[in-house]
Symmetry: C2
Subunit: 897 residues, 2 copies
């Protein structure tokens, strides 16, 4: 970049284009910005582009590095480029007879809100305005143009209050007793223009510049300065755009779409940006300038007859009104799409029957359109299948997999929270899980509203259509579980004040009672009053084709995190290739089981625990039997019990009393046991395999359930079931060694009892830094590693995901962290541990299977990391399966390049 | 080891010794065990050792590897070695006329309780006993020896109930109306011996063996089998002795100290094992066997005249009674000490005027003796200074630095807990910190008894002489703080049931009321009823000399963790070379400050916080001024506020009400704020530099206090003060970058205001795995790293030290972990992170200062790790300073070797 060059070596500061050729090319986006590169490219393609020049982004960088001073030779270069425009257009900058007017626009490498946009008609003053009147044959047009220029320039370059201009126009119309601007005549505009200049002078205490050169340099400096506005800086931070990129400045001869009925201006897409259909699509306005289209005062006309008919419009299409220019445009747009090999968003102007191309760029599109365009372009041979896969943003698929709010529906916003799990749903408000379940069983759609959720609420979350919490972040319990279940969730909506006692919540100045309807938009994090209509998702044929292309490119396998038959089936339908994480503890919260679980926890000795576990055995066996059956032969990784026992204990007095009754112990004894199990930092406490070191009978029961189920199903179906038994929270070789021995012993015992030997693997989560470092040791006893990146992130950062919400926001806002490390895997810290573990694990056991099963498995950037770290699979929540498949395909394709 | 050899290559199974030569040497301890190697060495030195042979430890290993079967050629080798003994002694095994009798003893590499000890007189039966009678000239002696053999063999080899033998002897004495064993005659012993054999046969349903060969193999097998007894296994686990070492078996010709008045047996130390004084020291018994000395039935006589006089004994010393043999022994002991270059523990027997050496080994000694012996031997030139440094176990120094229980004092044990902080202290029981403080101010010695302690109890812990908790581990709050303050502490005494409401605790079947006296022995973890007399520590000249030798060897600097002037002064007196960790939060709990701290926490905005912080500023400034003054120029590392704010909030209703009053807020508001600050995992929560990212004003106040104090003191003394400002809990480069900028800005501001610029350094704790991995980045802004190994251990293992107590014990007992990683640094996991961080940090900043400031800084093994990892210093609690100095010296010396 520029910082490493001296100003001597920065030879070319200004790139000209137009008149059928250009100094620049499309590939010079870094130097010329997106707009400049595209204008150069169009010009060099021989398309009709108004001549102009681009001041490079290097000049911007130099400007800031040198205390807002330009390189010495810039002025000469600009003057020379201006002469080239003058020669091409046969007009002259500042010439009263044939004045050259130009536009000045910013143009960074990527389009960026917050930057100075456009100054039009630059070069006008009280002398040149006369020349324009003669050239255009319209005094009114000339003065109207001048007053527009003064308005725009004073606003964006000089920073004047633009309200005062509108006020003057309104005053004038009032005085004349007219309503429309179009009823103002040449004289009105002349007087207004002069008044504007006077007002600017008074307001800013400096005269409005009349010298076109001064106008030009004012505008150029305004563009460069706009690179550093707070809004631009914020946008850059949010979109990972380095400050060092800088912006270019584009100066271009004006063309006028408002020179009468043979003039026009318009915008077009080479395909339908909302459906993706291959159909030239756009709008134009006769006798208008670009901003008139945007302003929406006049109804634009369709470009094509087909478009006009579809809109049932009575206004003539361009195809009908200007058939010749339309034909030219049709060719140009086809050329552009072919040239750029992507759907283009085009701006054009027709000046007195002559077509000018002002802009072309890849068009924004809906997720649905993106999929269709990519698939169809691949079908047309315009792009390769790999390119098609790269064309769709994996995260955008969320839009296709969940219902969305009808964009046309009216709505009343109650509150905003975090977009924790996508999907738009309506339902009646309930405040506890049991009620959610019973109402749902009665056929009522419910939204579960809680301050926060805990594992005890799982049945209610499952029963609800959506979950709203007032506390917690993107990786809070509510968010994680809702994403896993595919339930819509708005989390951490701080404005929502829940009052359980009264059965109401307050938000947006209203009180919502239990039973009232609300609507959640989990993809946006919005909460609306009442039932807002939604649109159902449809998975198109194109979607399936895109997935196939991604599948054939990717190296990573994609599994899912699922415990319930429902989740497993959803994931299968989304193309999951196995279960990467079955969290057995989720199976323990079921109403008929939790009693036995609690009995087990309350038992005084091993015998008591075993008696309680014996009651759980048949249920666990059935769980696994169901999962194995649904996954019919696909791998299923079952994680043995992980959370601290305390999580299963009740918190309310009533529930405590019930356990006391069931277990035959005193309420005090129950309370004491609960208090004893309470931990200062449960995340780092007595959980995972630590439970099984102290109470091996728990894992023994679970292993037995697995092997009995696998054996029985294999016998029923005649197909082998090869379960993968996963030991959580291993930190040392001794732990996995003992756990493997425990599982092996149970497998042997079950085989001996049933006569059915089951093939299986034993592996471990790598979720502690020590486990990653000691992977070589651990791999001696583990046949697979699954990176538990949620916990690995917690321990590597020393950051509790339950508590981070209170300050993570501040970290992201201040830029201390670029991304929430629980959402997107931290490649530098957590990532290095994964790489270390993968390398060391493979050294010990070359065929060790490596996967990831944290929330990151459904995050595209994290999936790309997993690909480059050489993992074998990612496992994600069921609804994220397609995202992971696409991201994995993209990762493989990018790595090839 | 044997596992890698085939039985063919295991050429020599049996090593002979005696008759002035030996197959083995002292260095062959691994193969021959400690006893066998020493016997061989003594024999080869030409000392009078009864001839014998050693079966190697490899045989033990082979025995266990091959299902309790011996190598094929062992029998022949034993037979051959036995012949050598026969030849040397001119006796024959099993010969009725001149029977050879042998002893059989175990002998592992290190002496180990729980192993089979000794079988004497093996080879006797009803035939050979007659030969012994003729040889010894005493029928009584012969039958007494036989019955002893039967008793011993039946007990340790055959596993008979030894009570029945004693019963028979008592019965016989009753029947004869006599009291002493010595009054039993030859016939009595004969009949008893035969009765014993009959009883064994009846009891075990197998005959007592008469064949000497069978006796010998029985005893050999018993030795090998005793390697695997539960008691031996437990001892090995506790002392880090690998099972693979195995034990050797020593078979040796019997000599008899009980062959009349020219025979004797005794034990001796070449120096006084309790004081270390250079003085031949020991006891003997005329006409006795070894076990008679141990049994304590007869009062042993002193070896020397000096000893007899010191004990004011009327029994002749050996020097007087057997001057010739004594002279020989005196020479031998001097030779042995010179040869082994260490104080020796010697066993000998005199058989009819002839001296036989049975054993020599390095003698056990008190810490005080160890220091004196090491220093004096270095002075004598017997060992080098480096060797002297290596001779003292650093951990044993604790004994010298704290009062101990008078070993002769009577005591009633109430409970056992963890030996959390050494020292024996008595005091009145109190149950809360405020009371501890007020009673202590009134001159009462108090023991603070709590279920567990928290930072709010610090003033009470400081006021108390000792702390007893019923919950928590070796690194619980109570344990860590008590060690830091040098207070005695027994932690996690589970048998102690505290009833705050009644003001009592229950333990050992008693109820102890507030105000009753108890005694803690923090070095042992014992709690005693009443006031048990104690002995004060004295630091000898020898201690100072040893420290000097260690200091001149060590590379590591030794600093201390201290906040109070008292702690800093103690540490200085123990040789601390600076403060490595000043935990500023400890300064916040003072009664007059906590109110302002809480006000700061309760403030609604930055201004409110700043107002409260302004009140704290002068106090913090005074804190630092005091510390800087005491440390006069030595480095002082100050850690800015680290714990979550919640730790400073009150928990009781009364205290909540007080804050409400002071802050002018409602009680509900206080409660709500407290609830909002509560965290699921505070260890991983909003703490350390995370507080300063959200509330920079806290660190700003602390930095200001540091620079104002340093500047003022420098002006007063004319000597520069160079504070080291330490930022806790850094995980990313951005954090340290911002914190450094914050500190720099304050330094600049203070310099501008006061006209006094202070030189300083800014560094960080490395206490999160991510910080260790990103050390290269972090070192760009950190001038030093201090490894916070407590937190680094917690995060690397994913193990909360507050919660680990509930299962860590089970981990250690089962051998899943070898050591508590909070006590001794885990070199494989945490250690690798330290090495990574050191290497990467130095790569960025070659002169970066590296230290450690966790609890591990006072653990000798951890200090050794720090030396080998190339750190610059360790920092430990004040009372551990000498331990760290010695350990650092040893580490440097070992590394040279």
């Amino acid at each position: 970049m520029f910082r490493n060059r001296t100003s001597q070596t920065m030879t070319k500061l200004v790139y000209s284009f137009g008149g059928g050729s250009a100094d620049g090319r499309s590939e010079m986006r870094e130097l010329l910005g997106g707009k400049g590169a595209n204008l150069a490219e169009m010009a060099s393609l021989g398309l009709p582009v108004p001549p102009g020049f681009t001041i490079t982004t290097d000049v911007c960088t130099a400007y800031y590095d040198n205390g807002s001073k330009y390189p010495d030779d810039l002025e000469a270069a600009v003057a020379k480029a201006l002469e080239t425009i003058e020669a091409t257009t046969d007009r002259k900058f500042g010439d009263p007879a044939r004045p050259l007017l130009v536009s000045v626009r910013s143009g960074a490498r990527v389009s960026m809100p917050g930057m100075m946009d456009t100054v039009l008609n630059l070069g006008l003053n009280e002398e040149t305005v006369a020349g324009l009147a003669i050239q255009s044959g319209s005094e009114r047009f000339a003065w109207d143009s001048y007053r527009r220029f003064v308005q725009m320039y004073a606003d964006v370059v000089m920073g004047a209050d633009h309200g005062m201009f509108e006020e003057q126009i309104e005053l004038r119309k009032e005085r004349k007793g007219i309503v429309l601007d179009t009823d103002l005549d040449a004289n009105d505009w002349r007087e207004l223009a002069l008044k504007f200049k006077q007002l600017v002078h008074e307001d800013l205490d400096e005269p409005f510049p009349d010298d076109p050169k001064a106008q030009l340099w004012g505008a150029i400096s305004a563009v460069f300065q706009s690179w550093q506005t707070p809004r631009a800086a914020t946008y850059r931070r949010l979109h990972d755009i380095p400050e060092s990129w800088g912006t270019a400045v584009n100066v271009q001869a004006m063309v006028f779409g408002n020179m009468g009925d043979t003039s026009a201006t318009g915008v077009a897409f080479t395909r339908d940006p909302s459906t993706g259909e291959k159909m030239f699509y756009g709008e134009f306005l006769v006798n208008a300038q670009g901003e008139d289209v945007v302003a929406g005062i006049r109804t634009p006309q369709s470009l094509t007859i087909q478009g006009r008919e579809a809109q049932e419009s009575e206004l003539l299409s361009m195809e009908e009104a200007m058939p010749e220019v339309f034909g030219q445009l049709l060719e140009v747009q086809a050329d552009l799409e072919r040239h750029y090999r992507d759907m283009q968003d085009i701006e054009f102007t027709v000046e007195e029957g002559r077509l000018w191309m002002l802009q072309t760029r890849s068009g924004k599109r809906t997720a649905k359109a993106a999929v269709r365009i990519a698939v169809e372009m691949a079908g047309e041979g315009l792009i390769t299948k790999d390119e098609a896969v790269l064309r769709v943003d994996p995260a955008s698929l969320d839009q296709l997999l969940h219902p969305m709010l009808d964009p046309n529906a009216e709505r009343t916003l109650l509150a905003r929270g975090l977009p924790a799990s996508p999907g738009a749903v309506s339902g009646e408000v309930v405040f506890n899980a049991d009620e959610a379940e019973s109402l749902s069983q009665a056929g009522v759609d419910v939204i579960l509203v809680r301050v926060e959720t805990s594992p005890e609420d799982i049945h209610g979350m499952h029963a609800a259509r959506g979950i709203l919490t007032s506390r917690g972040g993107m990786t809070s319990h509510a968010a994680v579980v809702a994403r896993g279940m595919g339930r819509s969730c708005v989390a951490g909506a701080g404005e929502v004040v829940v009052d359980y006692a009264k059965g109401v919540f307050r938000a947006g100045g209203r009180e919502i009672k239990k039973g009232e309807r609300i609507t959640l938009d989990g993809g946006q994090g919005h909460v609306y009053l009442g039932a807002v209509p939604t649109l159902s998702p449809e998975l198109s044929e194109d979607f399936a084709r895109l997935m196939e292309m991604a599948d054939s490119a990717r190296k990573l396998r994609v599994r899912t995190n699922a415990e319930t038959p429902a989740d497993a089936e959803v994931a299968l339908s989304f193309g999951a290739e196995g279960i990467g994480l079955c969290r057995t503890e989720h199976m323990f919260f079921d109403a008929e089981r939790i009693v036995s679980v609690r009995e087990m926890i309350m038992a005084d000795d091993k015998m008591g625990r075993q008696a309680a576990l014996a009651k759980l055995l048949p249920m666990q066996r059935q769980d696994f039997h169901d999962l194995f059956r649904i996954m019919s032969g696909l791998p299923v990784t079952i994680r043995l019990l992980d959370p601290p026992l305390h999580e299963f204990l009740p918190h309310t007095d009533d529930e405590m009393a019930e356990i006391a009754r069931v277990s035959g112990k005193s309420l005090d004894a129950i309370r004491e046991r609960a208090a004893r199990l309470t931990e200062a930092n449960p995340m780092l406490g007595h959980r995972g395999c630590r439970l099984a070191i102290t109470y091996p009978e728990i894992y023994e029961m679970q292993a037995r359930a697995i092997f009995e189920a696998a054996g029985a199903l294999a016998e029923e179906t005649g197909k082998p079931v090869i379960p993968e038994v996963m030991i959580p929270l291993v930190a040392t070789k001794a732990e996995i060694e003992r756990m493997k021995a425990l599982v092996d012993a149970v497998a042997k015992a079950v085989a001996a009892e049933t006569g059915r030997a089951v093939e299986y693997q034993v592996g471990t989560m790598i979720e502690l830094p020590r486990a990653a470092l000691r992977a070589a040791d651990i791999a001696e006893h583990a046949e697979f590693f699954s990176f538990g990146t949620n916990d690995l992130t917690q321990t590597t950062f020393g950051l509790s995901r339950d508590d981070a919400a209170s300050f993570l926001d501040s970290y992201l806002r201040q830029g201390v962290l670029e991304k929430d490390p629980f959402v997107s895997l931290d490649p530098e810290g957590v990532g290095e541990l994964i790489e270390i573990a993968a390398e060391r694990g493979r050294k010990t056991r070359p065929d060790i299977k490596l996967g990831i099963c944290g929330e990151h498995g459904g995050d595209p950037a994290s999936v790309e990391f997993c690909h480059s770290a050489g993992l074998d699979y990612v496992s994600c929540s069921p609804y994220r399966t397609p995202i992971a498949r696409l991201a994995a395909g993209q990762a493989a394709i990018k790595a090839k390049a």
